[in-house]
Subunit: 482 residues, 2 copies
């Protein structure tokens, strides 16, 4: 480390030059993660893991408020269990790592390292659920999962990743469908409120749905490079897993019936989304609600006033840290300018500057990471002002991301138009679709764009299919995606 | 479910009849865990996982207060990395599961599913640590680990388990040794304060230390069946891993030096310890600090007064639940007596009974799970009284466990005496030991007891070795152990 602030920032490739390099530069410079000596895996460094802890807090609180409890199921899934649901195993099979030896012996049956847990949980629900009184079962699990991906990228697609997976069982189809939509809305609320990322909720096409689901719903976000990212999914599994794992209950009418199940997940890839929605050429920019450090205090301390400035900085630090995540940067080996750049690069939402002149005037200068705005604030009202400003920053970051998304969403009436938008400006393209997988595949083949989802909000007349010109059944969002 | 309270409790084998069956009965009846369809694995059910969440909260707070941060390292460890530390791999090799196939191909190098993470973390510290300014590195990880154990038992020894593992690197030996003792004391404090389990802190013998450590320290607890349980360990790794992974730093004196490392861990087995230290023939008994439910309100509602009693019960529930983890059991299908038994079996520390007479007198009856004591309390002072009582229960449970441990700790002057105590009363046996592994092994061979640890508190004269009669260098604690 060391050197001037300018040099520091120069180590980050500008977004306009190479967005992908900008992304990995920011992760490295902001010390979020490192590549691990295992194919496609990363190490979550403390600043990266702290973001995940904030995601966990935000989601866990919402899961519990909607009646869910946490449980934990085994990492290993015997091959015979995994194979029970044919579509499911077909979808995941190529991505599975297998444990074949253990305890010094070759195993009689291979064990998959879980890519997701529907099958092992299905087996347990079969044992646990006897009557309608046992329903609904509303469980969530925080876990690591593994998928042997060909191309990997930190946070977005890694061999091992961290996530939560909710698994519920219900008495009726209506109740299960309600749960699927409720949890999708929990995801929407979390991503929009806490991560300040606007999303489009909707239903996946059959081509893009989860292996084994009847329907998959998603919330889709837009990154600053114009590529979409699926931030969370909620699956209506119908009775597919119930049938295969024989999850039956005795209903009030004395009939034995199969349960209806759902599953829903959000992973560490939302950290990647947060980086790519809010970051800029100066580095990371974190929404206050999830920023591990919300406020940094930088004393500007010329030699002769050092003690007085530092003493006041420490007082402010003590006063603020009861309610805020605040750091005092009193390192002597760096200049204030260098520190400004570093903390901006690390995405801290608000900086408190305190120099000799501020000391005399009983004020501080506050600088916003998101807008660069500065303002002098009396020390007496500092805590209240910071709380207000953090709320403003959170709201403004969300607003800017919404404007970016609106500015990068266009309607296309023809395939040529769709192709041109995807090739030049990218973003979301709203267009009619006839519902045929052939048209969906043809658009993907020609433009690289997939149907991200079929949004809940639909016009009265979706117009013609953007590919075949036939009558569309939905308007959908096309985009190239992570 | 259903039936009378007596039948209910009869389903738990009495401790005196078969402690091991009592243990698994309690886990099943209190719905803490279930056996999984994977060799030696369990499923943590919500009430069991909630206990782990309380352990996580209690430890995580203490780790952060002592300057540690969380990170996350990969689940898989390439064989070549794991083999670098010879003693380490020898210690763990028989217990390892190996991934040999993934992504549809046979892997060029086998990947171990982590039994612990010293090696992969050593590799990363090698990359991250350059100068003395990078030290100390104080990281912790919450993770699942796998050890292919021959004999398994829920929570105590399972193929996969959950734990935290701290890994730190230091500039000097003194600093690393201080860290090892600091974290052992964090464990002691957590286990004693939150789990109400007294422990003996001390150093392990060379035979019993962690594979690859210079020294291992432990906190040892005593279960109600007289068997000891190692509740947490803290390892001084010296420069063993630093040497093997070449973790060097440039010191202030411009010399390149190896770092000193430590590691320390506590796992889900402390849930087993909590069950076995506090439970009784009526079932689980949980210390208030970690009880997922601290208070249960049971309304006693004869038909004609049902509405009035339930209304007041709901008011009390609302008033209490801001600061306490409280449940209102207003199920109509069970009698109050049945509910008393059920909640006692589930270990809830305090019960609030509210009937028509209490309603008239503006009081409730409080019943303690630990002592069975009942007392009438005015509703006006209920919240304050409950807070006091929960603190009393916590303190009394700890006190009783201390008395049990004291009552089951004896000194032995001869091998015959040691053997007799272990064979009849079990518990801890304090005796002199000459320091020779041969004597340690001979005692184990003859009595089944191992040296649990060499306690920090030592008499001036440790007396003769309990085995060879030679001069002892320490007094140690022998016990049979889980």
């Amino acid at each position: 480390m060391g050197g001037s602030g300018k040099e520091f920032v120069r180590e980050i490739t500008p977004q306009g030059e190479d967005f992908s390099r900008w992304y990995t530069d920011v992760i490295r410079k902001a010390d979020l993660a490192d590549y691990a000596p295992v194919r496609g895996c990363i190490v979550f460094k403390p600043d990266g893991y702290a973001l995940w802890e904030k995601v966990q807090e935000g989601l866990d609180r919402r899961f519990k408020a909607t009646g869910h409890r946490n449980a934990y199921f085994p990492l290993f899934i015997p091959e015979s269990l995994l194979k029970k649901e044919a579509e499911h195993v077909e979808g995941f099979n190529p991505e599975l790592p297998w444990v074949t030896e253990a305890g010094g012996e070759k195993l009689e049956e291979r064990l998959a390292v879980r890519p997701t847990s529907e099958t092992i949980i299905g087996e347990m629900y079969h044992r646990w659920i006897q009557t309608y009184r046992d329903l609904p079962v509303l469980l969530n699990q925080w876990a690591n999962v593994v998928r042997w991906e060909k191309k990997t990228k930190p946070f977005l697609r890694t061999t091992e990743f961290l996530w939560q997976e909710g698994h519920t069982a219900h008495r009726t189809e209506a109740e299960a469908r309600e749960e699927v939509r409720r949890m999708l809305d929990v995801y929407r609320d979390f991503v929009e409120t806490d991560l300040a990322i606007p999303v489009i909720p909707g239903r996946k096409t059959d081509t893009e749905k989860f292996a084994g689901a009847v329907e998959t719903y998603s919330v889709e976000a837009l990154m600053k490079d114009g590529l979409a990212l699926q931030a969370g999914t909620s699956h209506f599994l119908g009775r597919n897993f119930a049938r295969v794992f024989d999850i039956q209950f005795l209903d009030e009418d004395n009939q034995r019936k199969l349960v209806w199940t759902t599953s829903w997940g959000m992973s560490t890839r939302v950290i990647g989304a947060t980086i790519m929605v809010h970051g800029d050429d100066r580095g990371l920019a974190l929404p206050p609600k999830v920023a591990p450090t919300q406020v940094v205090i930088v004393p500007i301390a010329p030699q002769k006033e050092r003690e007085a400035v530092l003493a006041r900085a420490r007082e402010l630090h003590s006063a603020l840290r009861g309610n805020l995540r605040v750091v005092l940067d009193d390192r002597e080996e760096y200049t204030p300018g260098w520190k400004y750049n570093e903390w901006e690069m690390r995405g801290v939402p608000l900086r408190v500057e305190l120099g000799p002149r501020d000391l005399k005037q009983n004020q501080v200068v506050l600088a916003r990471r998101d807008s660069g705005e500065k303002q002098a604030v009396p020390q007496a009202t500092l805590a209240a002002r910071i709380t207000e400003l953090l709320a403003d920053i959170q709201a403004d970051m969300f607003q800017r991301a919404k404007e970016f998304m609106a500015g990068h969403t266009a309607a296309a009436g023809s395939l040529g138009q769709l192709e041109e938008i995807i090739a030049t400006r990218r973003g979301f393209v709203r267009a009619g679709w006839c519902g045929e997988a052939g048209c969906e595949a043809a658009v993907k083949e020609r433009t690289g764009a997939t149907i991200r989802n079929i949004p809940f909000e639909q016009p009265d007349d979706p117009g013609p299919c953007v590919h075949c010109g036939g009558k569309a059944v939905h308007q959908v969002y096309f985009a190239r995606a992570y």
